[in-house]
């Protein structure tokens, strides 16, 4: 191991091409303590897989932050002699907007371990299952075509992300939750605000945006509460109605339906988890095809490649670079001792380019099969929306390839400096 190994994933260079950084880490120090990130970077496929199954690595990573924040606030209040009742009410409600949003997020199944996770997951899975695939397919195709109609009316250089890849997933989620189409734009705004809060602010300069985001999320909270009340009074075929219904035939798993607080948190989670990730999947897939004209031509020629193509595009340049785990017991990864309280970054984008798992990992092979990529994670936390994400990506990429025969990259894209996601600011193309 060299002392000079590049381990800051947030430099402009690493954001533009993280794969060179991952390559070096995988070869030189596959389970690496990164000073800049104050976390372990796990970059090999085998170690990422082992970490997914390791119960010492917990998903319960928001509650400790929330507890710390509450503790600090209470300490401050005591120091200043303020009464709890004045600051935050004595009914246990969090005081600050930030605490309220963290409280909402701490209820997310994605940051829970079993058994809390198991119950939420079963309810959400049941709701996904209730959505008829053929209906969703037709609905998504219509939405993609509507967005592409608008895109085709424009000319010259246009951003495929803001016009197509970005609006699609928020609209799909709004529809699946049973919200009226006129509220689509609200969903997009809240999704941005959730991302801002969940991924941190990145310094004082963005503190104001952070505050604004928190105010926006209070509106979201109120909106979802209204939607929940509506659906309780008048259930429909949407996912929200499905998650509140009780299933008496299933006594074994106590499918007792979700409380209002849980439903609001679940709506926010589905929006947050399903939006930017899917935008990135569509945009990164399109970029990968634009950079590989032979692959693009092959896909145009033979749309039956789409299913394996989508899996390969997810592997090759997927939407998520890193997911976190919180260490709750001493454990070992590739000979390194990992201690409680430390953080572990599982570098999915690196695992999916590991030559020990994938032949010619840096080659885009639209026929690659089997393709055991980890773009959706693994195990009990594997992305619950994976099938929906696949469907959206397949339909969007398929329609883009078919309907934009003259598609060409107009400018080199700029990548966001984000640790968790692999995300472009814009994808400017001509058609």
């Amino acid at each position: 191991m060299t002392g000079a190994i590049a381990d800051d994933l947030l430099t402009a260079q690493a954001s533009a091409d993280p794969y060179a950084v991952f390559d070096a880490l995988r070869r030189e120090d596959p389970v690496h303590w990164s000073g800049p990130h104050r976390a372990w970077l796990v970059t090999r496929y085998a170690d990422v897989s082992a970490a997914f199954a390791d119960k010492a690595l917990s998903n319960d990573r928001v509650r400790p932050v929330l507890a710390k924040q509450r503790e600090e606030r209470e300490r401050n209040e005591n120091q200043h002699g303020a009464r709890r009742a004045e600051a935050g009410g004595d009914d246990g409600r969090p005081a600050s907007a930030s605490e309220r949003v963290l409280a909402l997020m701490s209820g997310w199944m994605v940051v829970s371990d079993p058994p809390v996770h198991t119950r939420l997951r079963k309810l959400a899975a049941g709701a996904f299952k209730g959505q008829r695939i053929a209906v969703m397919d037709a609905r998504i195709t219509a939405l993609v075509d509507e967005l592409l109609d608008g895109f085709l009316r424009g000319s010259g250089e246009q951003d495929l992300i803001s016009e197509v890849a970005y609006p699609l997933p928020a609209t799909v989620i709004a529809t699946m939750l049973g919200a009226p189409p006129s509220d689509r734009d609200l969903f997009r705004e809240w999704s941005d605000e959730l991302a801002l809060v969940a991924f941190g602010t990145g310094g004082a300069a963005r503190a104001e945006r952070h505050e604004r985001a928190l105010r926006g999320l209070n509106e979201m909270d109120a909106y979802f509460r209204g939607l929940v009340a509506q659906r309780r009074a008048e259930p429909g075929e949407d996912m929200l109605s499905a998650m509140m219904s009780t299933d008496e035939s299933d006594t074994q798993t106590s499918r007792d339906g979700l409380s209002d607080d849980e439903l609001v948190a679940m709506c926010a989670l589905l929006l947050f988890a399903g939006h930017e990730t899917t935008t990135n999947s569509i945009a990164n897939a399109t970029l990968a095809l634009l950079r590989d004209p032979a692959a693009l031509a092959a896909l145009r020629e033979d749309p039956s490649l789409l299913n394996t193509a989508v899996e390969e595009l997810l592997r090759y340049d997927g939407p998520i670079k890193v997911i976190n785990r919180w260490v709750v017991a001493e454990t070992e990864l590739a000979g390194r001792t990992i201690l409680p309280g430390e953080r572990v970054h599982l570098v999915l984008a690196s695992a999916d380019r590991d030559p020990d798992k994938f032949a010619d990992p840096d080659t885009l092979d639209l026929t690659r099969s089997p393709n055991p990529h980890v773009a959706f994670g693994k195990g009990i936390h594997a992305c619950i929306g994976a099938q929906l994400a696949r469907m959206e990506t397949r339909i969007a990429v398929g329609r883009i390839v078919e309907r934009l025969p003259g598609l060409a990259l107009a400018r080199e894209p700029v990548w966001k400096d984000a640790l968790a996601s692999r995300s472009m600011e814009t994808l400017v193309v001509t058609h």
């Binding site: 897989s49 997914f52 199954a53 079993p114 997951r121 079963k122 899975a125 299952k129 899996e311 089997p370 393709n371 055991p372 990529h373 980890v374 959706f376 994670g377 693994k378 195990g379 009990i380 936390h381 594997a382 992305c383 619950i384 994976a386 099938q387």
Partner: protein, 66 residues
């Protein structure tokens, strides 16, 4: 219809369970708990087929069509 998993091949990707967590249960470690030979309830054959096909390492198979 009957389906089964080859436990030596399963890598705990969990994709089958994303398709249907009742037809394709996982054990505590995320591996398929469907067993070597399970009967699919009538009417759920299509979902079962999608679940089998979703396995990225082909650990699942349809043992018998009906």
């Amino acid at each position: 219809m009957r389906i089964g998993v080859d436990s030596n091949v399963c890598e705990a990707h969990g994709q089958c369970s994303v398709v249907d967590m009742d037809l394709f249960p996982l054990d505590d470690d995320g591996y398929s708990a469907v067993g070597p030979d399970a009967t699919v309830p009538e009417g759920e054959e299509d979902v079962a087929r999608i679940g089998v096909e979703s396995c990225p390492v082909r650990a699942l198979s349809v043992l018998e069509q009906e």
